[in-house]
Symmetry: C2
Subunit: 251 residues, 2 copies
DNA sequence: GTTTCGGTGATACGACTGTATCAATGAAAA
DNA sequence: TTTTCATTGATACAGTCGTATCACCGAAAC
């Protein structure tokens, strides 16, 4: 409590300009600040040169910061809704300061848009990984089931993803920039499903495209009902099995 | 600009207490206020006694105020999202003062819950009216189509209703009181659809319950895609016709 | 005449929100 | 040594939010 903030430079003791806004000044000039920096660097070099240098900042360096913050947005949106994702709240959840969020995303709108972008990439990545982990990639019915299951809240990850997804969906209804991200991303899901249905050998008289359209949107809606508690997960899976069996007759 | 607010009673000219909070006082006591009231009533009675009396307040008196305000909430939610529905914004949209909204709903949360309640009643009313207006009530396929079309944004009314619905849905994921309203309301839609399918003569081997589940949630999802611009309304109707034709074979 | 009652006008408070500003930091380049 | 660069810390500002408070209004009851 001795060297409290005086109105004198810490190095040359010259009087320093008063700043009514922003961070209070401590040095009278950039050179005095550099001098102080070198002094500190010297002290530090003696005992902890290597330790203080690297520190890749827990979660991938460089633009890993952006990802770290985006994940905080996802968590908040999933648990408390997008309207609870204020700048300060996101910063706290990510364990960084408000200024860091501002710096890396510019504005709140930029933050939301970027977080949605990263979310789409992440979801694609996860879905691809899960499909690659299937025991028999030639079993087209299993592949189809895996694709559709991706929209059901089967585990905490998918549950959270669905919640974030619908929260963003609603927001995009009144925010063109968010709608853009939605439109430029998820066209091919229905086409993928339609292709799988056609390849797997659909029952005669069925239209793979129309079946895929209702299946995809229906599964999303059923998943939302599960989130709500309006339906059981088991019930939804039974319904899904029924329709898969109807579209793809056994062998 | 002559009789500006002095610190004297308007009637007896006694000094009046200073109030740092709330509306500034004008009378020194309740009796002086009543005196002023009677004086005004006397003047008014001479020329506009009947005209000033009734005035049911444009839209149904009594608890019509609540409805008027709830409709403002719906409009704002449909056009700018639920997060834009602040107390002041709702009051302005409804053409009343902030205090009136506070008085009739107590808190913002109470406002949102009540508005959702009234919305459900309104939607039921509209759906019932549209079904009653069908040309041939015995044509079960037409009735089924009408029920499902209720979830598509076919006109501005349904478009708006769907937007408000999904906005509230998302909010209900993080608000138990809203979720309650959802759960205690819309169970029987799927049962209604399933009943219609069974009565209309489904194709052999089809399960009306499972078909209804996918149809209802699927139609909702497709309607949301239309809102988004991800799908054409015509495309959705074609898909819907396809599935109706599949479930209910022609004659 | 005074009180009571449902409803409303006019402020005010404190907590938050998004954004802006100024300065410091650590390291590398000039 | 001085400058530059990308990043972060520490505030400040103006506005909005939900809510609370006090007084007024009209009319009916006592």
């Amino acid at each position: 409590m001795r060297d409290e903030n005086q109105d004198r430079c810490r190095v040359c003791a010259a009087p320093l300009a008063v700043a009514v806004r922003g961070r209070p000044p401590v040095y009278c000039s950039r050179s005095c600040q550099a001098k102080a920096y070198r002094r500190r660097a010297g002290e530090r070099g003696g005992r902890a040169a290597a330790a203080a240098a690297g520190e890749p900042l827990a979660g991938g360096a460089g633009q890993g910061r952006r990802r770290q913050i985006a994940e905080a947005v996802w968590r908040i949106a999933a648990e408390r809704g997008l309207e609870a994702a204020s700048m300060r709240e996101v910063a706290a959840e990510a364990g960084v300061s408000l200024r860091v969020v501002q710096y890396h995303f510019g504005s709140k709108h930029g933050l939301l848009v970027s977080a949605l972008h990263l979310l789409h990439e992440e979801n694609d990545r996860r879905a691809r990984a899960r499909m690659a982990a299937l025991p028999d990639p030639a079993d087209l019915r299993a592949v189809l089931g895996a694709v559709l299951n991706e929209f059901l809240p089967l585990d905490e990850q998918r549950r959270s993803a669905l919640r974030v997804f619908v929260a963003y969906y609603v927001r995009s209804l009144t925010d063109p920039a968010l709608a853009e991200v939605f439109l430029h991303a998820s066209q091919p899901v229905e086409q993928l499903v339609a292709g799988l249905i056609a390849q797997a050998g659909a029952a005669p008289g069925t239209d793979p495209g129309r079946e895929a359209d209702l299946l995809v949107s229906g599964v999303t809606g059923l998943g939302m009902d599960v989130l709500h508690g309006r339906r059981t997960l088991a019930d939804v899976r039974t319904t899904l099995d029924y329709h898969l069996g109807r579209i793809l007759p056994v062998h």
